[in-house]
Symmetry: C2
Amino acid sequence: MGTLTVGEVARESGVSGSAVRFYERQGLITAARTGGNQRRFDADAACRIRVARVAQRVGLTVNEIRDLLAALPPDPQLADWQSLHDRLTAEAERRIRDLHAALDDIGSGRRLCEL
Amino acid sequence: MGTLTVGEVARESGVSGSAVRFYERQGLITAARTGGNQRRFDADAACRIRVARVAQRVGLTVNEIRDLLAALPPDPQLADWQSLHDRLTAEAERRIRDLHAALDDIGSGRRLCEL
DNA sequence: CTAGGACTTGAACTAATGGTGAAGTCAATG
DNA sequence: CATTGACTTCACCATTAGTTCAAGTCCTAG
């Protein structure tokens, strides 16, 4: 039973209202509707958005974040957040490894550029 | 005195002809023109493009790569490529540090998500 | 000298990304 | 019961990195 409005979630998560609606359209968060068709969010919505913003810094797209958050059940427990954290961490580490691989390719400058 | 056509640079660098023209428009490479207005590239053009592609993997945009390559003189020497390499490496390392910072933020899961 | 493959331009198009804005509707309060 | 702020949808915007198209021009090998 959601109780939070778009504006409240926006304030709690630090993003704009239009972003909150955008994230709902993209499936990062879900909302119940009032009789007057307004969105009402659960307490974990702002939380999901905060995680999403960190995930964006890691370089995940909104689509990838949707998939990541899809693994999170409604009314998530500590262990659920923990496992999300682990998956995000793993992804960040994978991207760091990719950058190191690019660095190695740069290092082999001769292969990059025979003059 | 450029001698390479668009097609030759494309083959040597592994990108399409339209991409070669695109990179010229964006200032990543420069071309002389024949009497008949065709592009003729110097030997370092394919080289620049290979560097550009690695830079893209590092996450630089075409605009950023233009700025990076702007530091490379015409007829670049080994030391010029070396310094380019160093700047690109520094940029990659900066991005790796950003990812580590994001990882740290994830680590502070409690701050991310008070439930 | 001529055939045809490679080249020229500029504009339109693609496709993804991450939202924002306008016009109109709802709801809580004084 | 009217105001006002929050809400609604959907179309649109801007950026990024090219690709594609058409109509025409160049250049090189035979």
